[in-house]
């Protein structure tokens, strides 16, 4: 499979990365080179093979249902959470207006 400029622009929009037409033009042959190369996986017979879900068998643990049992991840640390925010306001993450 291969991609055209319109496909790259669409993928970039899905990925929320702004691209210029010149960047799209440069990416088309790069992405097509990579896609042509990974296309060889199509020749592998995978009849009856399950897709891998866990590389090392493990079971999913549940933590104890206790609020704040781990003080590092348990909450009540608003200022730490906001410490690296580019535009915190009144104890919240600030964002541009989304409703007119």
């Amino acid at each position: 499979m291969s991609v055209a400029p319109a496909d790259v622009a669409k993928i970039a929009a899905l990925a929320r990365i702004k691209v210029t037409p010149a960047e799209v033009a440069a990416m088309v042959p790069e992405l097509n080179g990579i896609l042509a190369w990974v296309d060889q996986l199509g020749e592998v017979d995978v009849t009856g093979v399950e897709p891998m879900t866990a590389v090392i068998p493990n079971h999913l643990r549940l933590r104890a249902d206790v609020v704040g049992a781990d003080p590092l991840t348990g909450g009540g640390i608003r200022d730490k959470v906001l410490a690296n925010a580019p535009a915190p306001e009144h104890g919240f993450f600030g964002v541009p207006k989304v409703i007119e």
Binding site: A15, R16, E30, V49, I56, R61, P86, P96
Partner: protein, 494 residues
Amino acid sequence: MADLTDLGIAAIRDGVAKGDFTATEVAGAFNAAVAEANPTLNAFIVTTPDHALAAAAKVDAARAAGQPLGPLAGVPIGMKDLFATQGVQTTAASHILEGFIPQYESTVSQKLWDAGAGMLGKLNLDQFAMGSSNETSAFGDVISPWRATGDTAARAPGGSSGGSSAAVAARIAAAATGTDTGGSIRQPAAFTGISGIKPTYGRCSRWGIVAFASSLDQAGAMAHDVTDCAIMLGAMAGFDARDSTSLDLPVPAWADQLSDNLTGLKVGIPREYRIDGLNADVARSWDDGIAWLKDAGAQVVDISLPHTKYALPTYYIIAPAEASSNLARYDGVRYGLRELPDGAGLQDMYAATRAAGFGAEVKRRILIGTYVLSAGYYDAYYTQAQKVRTLIARDFEHAFREVDVILTPTAPTSAFALGKKSDDPLEMYLNDVFSVPASLAGLPAMSVPCGLDRSGLPLGLHLIGRPFDEQGVLNAGLAIERRAGFSAKPAKWW
């Protein structure tokens, strides 16, 4: 007394414990070496001499008070800038995280500080660990301390843990942390003549490590030799409830159980790794490795890993897919860079922030990942790759019924000159041809230096073990190390 910066983990720890020198003297010597070398090598993004000195002062005080010392007491190390370090900028070598100051410490780095290590600084890397030459960092290329004979061209330190490999090889850090997603510990170790181990997936907690591809990412140790790797990995590993894929298993006493007596051990040589046009010096080093392991008592067996050729394309679907999902968090809202063009709405802000913050290789992988996960292509690419991944893991399972450890070269060549492969993403990806299969199968693997090629640059040999059998990998690595007698160091030109 030898120069303190020539010493590795065991020698520093034991020297401090015996009182041959103080931890403060060691930290001071390494801080000075970093200050001298870093403007040229660019191995560190930020240096933290005060952290190293404070950790050393604690160790010296503990020794004076007769308290027990940790397994890395007094050892100054470099921390790959992918580990969150409380109060110290953590960037993943990306502009999008420039200025990010974690409010917490990663599990692995905390364990190292608890073991008595100190931090010299945060080490440069390929941006978000995506690269094999450290040329994708937003903070500039790392220059390898190694040069080819009669050639002053700047060489790649490997990647993505290129700051780690350069710092240890240049003897400006006694050891360093690395992370390995498809070879990012082993290939740089091979390029710089040091040892590096990636444990079984789940041995080291991923909590506090900037995520690239979560089903593949593992932290590991990069150090002078196999013994130092065993000591350091022992301090880094262990169960962590904060990482859902952490292995709830005791950490074996790897360093105490090291042995290069391989009597009864079976070593597999996978025929598919003897690729067409294999570099002659690399092929010779592989033959040397086979002879050394036989000398150590091992039996060598030819094996087949039939899906090897599909490992790299499988990796370059799965890793970008996971990256595209993991890196969705960089949105200009909660942390990191924000680009807000005049009059921009929220969606425009996301797109402008990510366009300005991510480097070209990171964007390339996010786009590939987005594409292979998008409606209409998911089954053809992503599901197919996860099925082939099952077959690759199965190849290893079958092989390990017959053999105990597998020996291959670490990388297809020695270190290339910077700029030589950066224009062609596919050619760069081929660097990981020998290291990626073990990553896809979650297996422990390490690189040990084995000699120099005809241009005077180091080569590494690669050992792959059964799940949880880091000991088997380390022991075979030790057998090679003792027989290779690799003692070459880069001549100091910086």
